[in-house]
């Protein structure tokens, strides 16, 4: 399995201010590899540099240094463009066109042969669930519909690699589910998907590997399964009896009380001590459930750690 995307030391610095004196590094030198056929999640809080990275890869902005290769070619090589698709964040398309006209235009630009275009466009529209809306002018489209058009134009020309920037943004749960299904299909078709998001549950569900970005720097890269394993070390204890609250809190766990019931998330290693505390206080244990590890936990952990490190560095 080859490396489809290789990012080597790519970084970007902007000069801001009226006299262009202040420098802001939007992206620190980035080293990243994405393998063929995987769904790669690019995570991070807002402003972390995710969109900057994508703009650099797409050639919309130019790197201050470093480089990248896509499908073995330099990322700025025009030949690359024919084999990749891109969905920008909150896409905006030519208002005056209908969905069909827009996709036909993009098909023309992507070099889809003339005879093929119409059929391909119809198929794409049906695939993203806009089969009936082809003739409608884009200015009448809802946000969710625009997002789907965006996806359609990204895969229209049968690209090997698809780049998506916040593909679920602005969608209702149904829309999000549909996009997730589509991304899964793309993988099944053998394409590589690189998508950025700050919705971690989506990443958790879809991605093989993720990178977490904060303040322009990659905090961690790895398989999702590994990350989840690292955090699923807690259990949730549910009991009845207010007296035991103090004892559990003494173990360092936060307790939520509602009426007579109380629950707390306790690290697995402290479970025995917690149960002892409850029994000692005369509380009635109701249930002990393993906490479902989420990527969010891992994310918060990592980002929190990097923030602390940054604060320390500044101090």
């Amino acid at each position: 399995m080859s490396d489809v995307i290789e990012i080597r030391g790519l970084w970007k610095q902007y000069e801001v201010g009226f006299w262009k004196k202040r420098k802001i590094t939007a992206l620190q030198p980035l080293e990243l590899t994405v393998r063929e056929g995987e769904i790669f999640g690019y995570l991070g809080p807002n402003g972390a540099g995710k969109t900057t990275t994508l703009k650099l890869l797409m050639g919309l902005a130019f790197p201050s240094g470093g480089g990248a290769r896509i499908l073995g070619l330099d990322h700025q090589d025009p030949a690359v463009k024919a084999q990749i698709g891109f969905l920008p964040e909150q896409p905006y398309f030519y208002d005056h066109l209908s969905a069909t006209e827009l996709l036909e235009y993009f098909a023309q630009l992507s070099g889809v042969p003339a005879g093929e275009r119409k059929r391909r466009v119809e198929r794409m529209l049906a695939r993203v669930g806009l089969g009936d809306a082809g003739g409608l002018q884009l200015r009448r489209f809802s946000k969710g519909m625009l997002q789907r058009v965006g996806l359609a134009q990204a895969i229209l020309h049968d690209p090997k690699v698809v780049f998506l920037d916040e593909p679920m943004s602005g969608l209702d749960p149904i829309g999000r589910r549909e996009v997730r299904d589509l991304v899964q299909q793309l993988k099944e078709e053998g394409r590589t998907v690189f998508f950025s998001t700050h919705i971690l549950s989506d990443a958790e569900a879809l991605c093989d590997r993720v990178a977490i970005l904060n303040r322009g720097r990659v905090v961690t890269v790895g398989e999702v399964a590994d990350m989840l394993a690292k955090v699923s070390e807690s259990v949730e204890v549910l009991w009845e009896g207010a007296a035991a609250v103090a004892g559990i809190e003494a173990l360092g766990a936060a307790v939520h009380v509602s009426g007579e019931l109380a629950r707390a998330s306790v690290p697995r290693v402290k479970l025995d001590a917690a149960i002892d505390a409850l029994r000692g206080a005369g509380a009635r244990l109701i249930s002990v459930t393993p906490v479902q590890a989420t990527l969010e936990d891992y994310f918060m952990q990592q980002v929190g750690a990097s923030e602390a490190a940054a604060a320390e560095a500044r101090a």
Binding site: M58, L60, H96
Partner: protein, 257 residues
């Protein structure tokens, strides 16, 4: 197959759907109005007035369209980010610039063509038929198209690097100074020192519209020399090439927001 023609056609389509061609209605009304007016009164120089009025209107409408649409050609796409999905495709930046230019130019040619029809209709009506000098009117209209090409190229150039307001001001400034470029060169000959070089520099920097304004002479049935047509065509090609080359260079290196 280069995507240039597709970009050009899309630009043309956008202009048309933007109802820009509705200006033809206003122009038609103007022509009809003046023709009817002269049907009622006779002042002896109806032909001159209709020709001057018509050509001036064609020029002004054309320049207005060239500027209003031209200044947004690139900047609007950058602001609205419609460019993102275009440039992620195998479209080279210079192809984008040229495609947009050709699209707007084509729009203006079509617009001028229809205006030309209305114009000739008005002239025939007022003069009661075809005259010997009418073929020269075609030359005048051709020169107007050339003028519009320059204005379009300039507006597009400004669009690649500045906001719409500044672009509009610059385009208008170049148009006005360009109208007097010949006088500026004459002035440069009269003075010495730094004023001479500044005037000369500006005079060669702005477009030279004086030689493209043959409205007065065709109104008086003066011929338009063939080598003037040739020289003007060559000039406009060169000047537009300069403007477009700069536009291509600016856009090639621009980081999109």
């Amino acid at each position: 197959m280069t995507p240039l023609p597709f970009i050009a056609y899309n630009t043309y389509r956008e202009a048309v759907r933007d109802r820009v061609l509705y200006n033809l209605i206003v122009f038609a009304l103007l022509m009809v109005g003046s023709a009817v007016l002269f049907g009622q009164i006779s002042i002896g120089i109806e032909r001159q007035v209709v020709i001057n009025l018509g050509l001036a209107a064609i020029t002004l409408f054309g320049v207005a369209i060239a500027i209003f649409i031209g200044i947004g050609l690139v900047s609007k796409e950058i602001d609205r980010r419609t460019l993102y999905t275009v440039l992620s495709r195998p479209v080279r930046r210079w192809e984008f610039v040229l495609g947009k230019f050709l699209g707007l130019s084509f729009t203006l040619v079509v617009n001028t063509f229809f205006m030309g029809l209305g114009f000739f209709a008005a002239v025939f009506y007022v003069c009661g038929g075809v005259h010997r000098g009418d073929a020269r009117l075609l030359a005048a209209i051709y020169f107007i198209v050339l003028e519009l090409l320059i204005v379009t190229a300039l507006a597009m150039l400004f669009s690649t690097f500045s906001s719409t307001l500044l672009s509009a001001v610059l385009a208008l400034a170049f148009f006005i100074v360009g109208t007097f470029a010949e006088d500026l060169r004459g002035f440069a000959q009269m003075v010495t020192g730094p004023a001479h070089w500044v005037a000369l520099g500006v005079a060669y920097l702005v477009p030279n519209f004086a030689s493209l304004n043959v409205a007065s002479s065709v109104a008086h049935d003066q011929p338009v020399a063939a080598h003037l047509v040739l020289a003007n065509t060559g000039y406009v090609l060169c000047y537009s090439a300069v403007a477009l080359a700069v536009a291509v260079l600016v856009f090639e290196y621009r980081n999109l927001k």
